[in-house]
Subunit: 333 residues, 2 copies
Amino acid sequence: MSTIATLTDVAKAANVSKMTVSRVINHPEQVTDELKALVFKAMKELDYQPNFAAKALAANTTRIIKLIILEKVDTVEPYYATLLMGVAQALNEHQYALQVVTQKNADIGDCDGYIITGARRDDFDWLNQLNRPTILFGENRHNYDYVDSDNKYGTFLATSAAINDGYDQIIFFGIELKESFEYSRERGYMDTMQKDGRNPQIVRFGNHSSEAQNYVENHWHEFKPNTCFVCSSDRLAIGVERGIQHMHGNIPDEFGIIGFDGVFLDQIADPKLTTVKQPVMTMGSKVAALLLQKINLALPMSEDHDPDRNNRVEVMFSPELIRRQTTRNYHRS
Amino acid sequence: MSTIATLTDVAKAANVSKMTVSRVINHPEQVTDELKALVFKAMKELDYQPNFAAKALAANTTRIIKLIILEKVDTVEPYYATLLMGVAQALNEHQYALQVVTQKNADIGDCDGYIITGARRDDFDWLNQLNRPTILFGENRHNYDYVDSDNKYGTFLATSAAINDGYDQIIFFGIELKESFEYSRERGYMDTMQKDGRNPQIVRFGNHSSEAQNYVENHWHEFKPNTCFVCSSDRLAIGVERGIQHMHGNIPDEFGIIGFDGVFLDQIADPKLTTVKQPVMTMGSKVAALLLQKINLALPMSEDHDPDRNNRVEVMFSPELIRRQTTRNYHRS
DNA sequence: TTGTAGGCGTTATCAT
DNA sequence: ATGATAACGCCTACAA
């Protein structure tokens, strides 16, 4: 029999009813250990794989999660690709299907929950219409549950490193966006600077390497040797790197650069960027896991509501400073 | 009723049986135009969306397609991300779910078909075990159906451009891989060179920018000004660009560079790469479409077998030469 | 603790 | 050309 084993097949093999098998899977505590053992054995022998579609149908559920990538189309950035892999992995483990979708076609077809990434201020009106459990990827001030990296801590790491490495002037190149993640990154920089009795200095750009590059070249006279540029993205950092190279500045001795993200771009740069690396893949798995958890809690059957279920879920992952070639690896003592 | 409309709801609204509605969807030719009109109207009014899971269950089908990305884990390259978007889009339109999977967990859970990308010679033993319709992304000599860009034509475009732009020496930087796509690219270069009475010259590397860069620097004396480097990937092209820059060669007047792929990297480079761009997203949609077609043909009901269904399906997309900053845009007359 | 009956939404089959 | 029925695999509700 090369056909795929069903609940019924397992039940027969184990000499029990379908329901017992179903219970072994969904409510194992209700079944005696003896029977459980028998059922497990049968499942293993038949290589039983639950039927995704039947499960969905019976539970009045789709077992589909939509990942909505807001933002311009050209955002096929490595960052999102990595995130996607993380999400896909976690979802697969729990027999959920992933649909990657853009805002336009997000409405067609039902689903059990949404993962949203790249949400900006303007998007929240639209987001509020979604009537399914939702988790955002990226911190926000609209009370949505989210997963993000600890942006403030990230720039704390970067700024501290710049200080430790002995750079005199430390400038922050930020992204010209009134978004929460950017505020946090700037805050991390500013606090760290002030704690060390230094004057913060922030410049902002659209997130394009050319803008940062032009700025560096046009304001070259303002940067004395021994300056470090702490950037809010690897894109900006690459621009800075190019600007310095075009002006024949020395990296990392005269000028340091620290990026943010640590996905692909940092390695493409030459010299390779010292950067604040986010564990993007892990974060992807986490959003997915949280969403599934939320979906299951929303199900009527779960009586054992988490008491603080009303609270917002905010998960922050600690980024990590990766030292490469755009900072001196020299610590002041 | 904010509940989701089902076939039955539509049937009631249109005063017909469920089956008629089902037929309107799946076998419209069997239904009279009058009834069809009624049913369509009802479907629109109720905003009917077919239930994915029920369809799957009834058809003894999973409606799941697995996209298997063979190759090292760090291959979260923009290239694959773009491909993925294309696949996802086409699949969503047909109510199929996409599972992104690596070789390891490819075996868990059933599916209706596979899309394979990054298959190398060694992988084919494993591929042969897959007992579901399969389409490869990437040309191959193992008789698998595939979609790819026309690699040979791509390097023909690149080489012709280099010739037209008046470069004296034209060298091919290939990828050290005994794979079909690489053979085709080299063939396109060689044929075009020979047709113009020139001597082809090929060097090969692992697909890393640093290898190409080192080579350029170490063999710098061999490259007279007015040389163009035709590369088998944008990665290699970036390495060449860096090598030339480190040796203070002038781009594009003394040295031209043409990359291959046209996904992300070409735009990140500075100066931006002239490159052979593949329509990756479109190609992704096409693989998906082909696979769905193949799956439906495999279904017993389709009696009207395409007569040459036994033939292998090979779809080649024409790449396009994008002229940017690493070639002179100067045509010899 | 375990088993039985019925239904989730769709489609194929057979009947009309 | 259209409709009634059964079945896909699983789960909830109820019965034993």
